[in-house]
Symmetry: C2
Subunit: 97 residues, 2 copies
DNA sequence: ATGTTATTATGTTATATTACTAAATAACAA
DNA sequence: TTGTTATTTAGTAATATAACATAATAACAT
């Protein structure tokens, strides 16, 4: 058994924490097809305030899961770590056991 | 873009939420070798109260990540979904980029 | 320059989480 | 039985998170 080193676990835990909210997990799934989507699309589909979606997107970006680009008036988000999709698939399989 | 269905995301998000704490993520990593470990080992290595570790283990078990068995005076925990290890590896690789 | 749309930042309140202490339970030893 | 060790449960206080309203910013159109 290793000795527990809090700091070395904090960064990785942050990634999972970011995924640990239904809205944020759903956003990641929407981006799993590799396509970009803009903030307004998420706002419309989820049905909450712009500010709330923006806050969730910031958390996902800070965790390193998303990247964004501003083009014209809109900000577009895409998945930065496609490996997360495999995990989601694995969990989906597990759910139907 | 799909319509957002909160309930269908809640269960899966719970799994990630469980992993989104440094102590709990560390516990899962310790079990990643496939071996069982008892509660007291985690308590000693992490250096917090028994009650705190027990609480974390309960969260991981409820998320479906761990299974436990009581043998004699000790309760032994093991990983119930080895696929999570692949994800942890993938994230570890990503971290060194 | 002014207005409009898209987005982010700030402040606030309600709720959830964390880690603790203390009490309860369960298995075994003396 | 009594005591001891391992673990869980319950209650509590500090801290963190969520979602909102509102203000600020940024790009484009008129």
């Amino acid at each position: 058994m290793q000795k527990f080193d809090r700091n070395s676990c904090l960064r990785e835990a942050e990634i999972f924490k970011a995924l640990g909210h239904p809205t944020r997990l759903w956003i990641v799934k929407q981006l799993a097809d590799g396509q970009e989507h803009c903030v307004c699309e998420f706002v419309e589909a989820v049905g909450v305030q712009f500010a709330t979606i923006s806050q969730h997107l910031t958390i996902l970006r800070q965790a390193g899961l998303l990247e964004s680009d501003k083009r014209g008036q809109s900000v577009y988000y895409r998945l930065s770590c496609p490996c997360i999709i495999d995990t989601l698939k694995c969990l989906a399989d597990k759910k139907t056991e």
